[in-house]
């Protein structure tokens, strides 16, 4: 798909690199994001997502027509991806306490794949995941891809409250709930990895393009790190 630039409001445009989830499109998004940041365009902020980049600009400096032409020129001048370092971000290791008490869907996923709960945990820790996008809520990182032998559909009916730090799987994506909230993803464990603590000024150490690995820890280690084994309602 050729990149397209589409209006996204009085003060924004959105650039689409693909209409599906792909690592390549996501790399192009981040490549354009940094090219725009180092250009002399008057940009207010950008929102990188899976395969699109939304760009808010200063309308007192650029018109809709101008900004499209400028962004088009930047896209055309982007180097081929092969020349770009494939590892754009940092690597994070996130410790997770995987257990039925804090991960009520471990058994469901095990049953779905005809394996044990231990194997579900092994599989989740086996692969590394790319952070495709941040958003929806503060600190929420969409990570993928979850291997086929671990994928699980969303719950038919969302839970009304999922505790903060819950580690979750939905289809090909995995994520951590930064705040207690309702949700329909499968919950398999819990982490103390800080994602969003507004009172302490902590906001997301993960960035789009980063790599994440999960590491299983014991209940004692989890509690020692300040974890709470608060059960599900």
């Amino acid at each position: 798909m050729k990149p397209s630039i589409v209006n996204a409001g009085a003060d924004a445009v959105i650039v689409y690199f693909a209409d599906v989830i792909s690592i390549e499109a996501n790399q192009r998004v981040l490549q354009l994001d940094s090219a725009i940041a180092s250009s002399d365009l008057a940009i207010l902020e950008t929102v990188p997502a899976y395969s699109s980049l939304m760009v808010y600009y200063d309308i007192t400096r650029h018109s809709d027509t101008d900004i499209r032409a400028s962004i088009k020129a930047i896209i055309e001048s982007l180097p081929e991806l092969q020349q770009v370092n494939a590892e754009q971000g940092q690597t994070h290791v996130i410790p997770v306490y995987y257990d039925e008490t804090v991960g009520p869907d471990l058994a469901r996923i095990a049953e779905l794949h005809g394996c044990s709960a231990e194997e579900v945990i092994e599989r989740h820790c086996r692969d590394s995941y790319r952070v495709y996008a941040l958003g929806f809520a503060p600190g929420f990182a969409y990570m993928g891809e979850v291997a086929e032998d671990l994928q699980a559909p969303r719950l038919d009916s969302p839970r009304t409250r999922i505790p903060a730090g819950s580690v979750a799987i939905a289809e090909r994506q995995t994520a951590i709930y930064p705040l207690a909230s309702p949700g329909g993803w499968n919950i398999i464990g819990r982490t103390t990895f800080p994602l969003y603590e507004p009172q302490k000024g902590i906001l997301n150490q993960l960035n789009s393009g980063d790599t994440v690995r999960f590491k299983a820890i014991s209940k004692d280690e989890f509690i020692a790190a300040g974890g709470s084994v608060e059960a599900f309602e």
């Binding site: 209006n7 207010l44 929102v47 699109s52 958003g135 809520a137 507004p198």
Partner: protein, 313 residues
Amino acid sequence: MIEVIEPGMYATIQDFGRLGYLKKGLTRGGPIDENAFLWGNYLLKNEPGAAQIEIVLGGSKFKFSTAAAVAVCGADVSLKLDDEERSIWETFQVEAGQVLSIGPARSGLRAYLAVAGGIQVKPQWGSCATVKREQLGGHRGDGSALQKGDTLAIESSTCELTQRIPWRYRPDYSKPPVLGLIPGFQYDQFAMAEREKLSFHEYKISQQSDRMGIRLEGPAIEYAGKGLVSEGINIGSVQVPPNGQPIIMMNDRQTLGGYPKLGNISPLDLSRLAQCRPGQTVQFTRVEVAKVQQQLKNYYDFFGITPACQTDH
């Protein structure tokens, strides 16, 4: 200081909003009737983004222990300073010890109480805007609304001369607004007959509307295009979920979403939308982005907003 005697149904601290953190998942927040908010700060010669109290439907009481020049703009509420009547859309003096009562709104939904110098609240990520869903902002810093007994810091000030907003600038919130739609996002992927429904029908404001989004009820709009991968959402984006009933995303919107969007409502029309009550109707008309940008530039000039100052926060 201002002491909250009665918060009313829902009163929150709002400044111009949190800018520059969409990338990290923080939404903007801020006054959803930005126009009324800006008039308040304009009257008091405050910075355009100085913090105010956004009051839904009125019914609030505040006791001042510091003398201050104040103004209330927005919804048509009655005002009483102790037992004396005061008017909205103009400045007046509150002496230390006096109680300002904001009555129920006769038209409109949100009134803004502005104080000279702004309400003094510690910013988080550059703003004190209250966003409930993010547990962020407000004077507790946890996204909670004002509660009985809360105290808010203000500067002492004097209202030398009454400043008034001319009548021609005061919106009539009882009239159905016409919202300008800038076609965008997936507009071209909607069938023509579907996307034109907005132009030919009235839509009613649903009860399930809040600072995240204003839900509309009317002829369902069908989207037969491809499923979407989550992408950015603007303030004013017109989302069409599977039930076909459009939602206009407002200041507390989630930063990413996967529903198709027809485009965006002109920022200048969102203030009027923010004052619509459930059951009120709205109409849509297509507008050109170049025209909206020109109007927006004039608006920025008038209120002294520079997009650079938006990122300075």
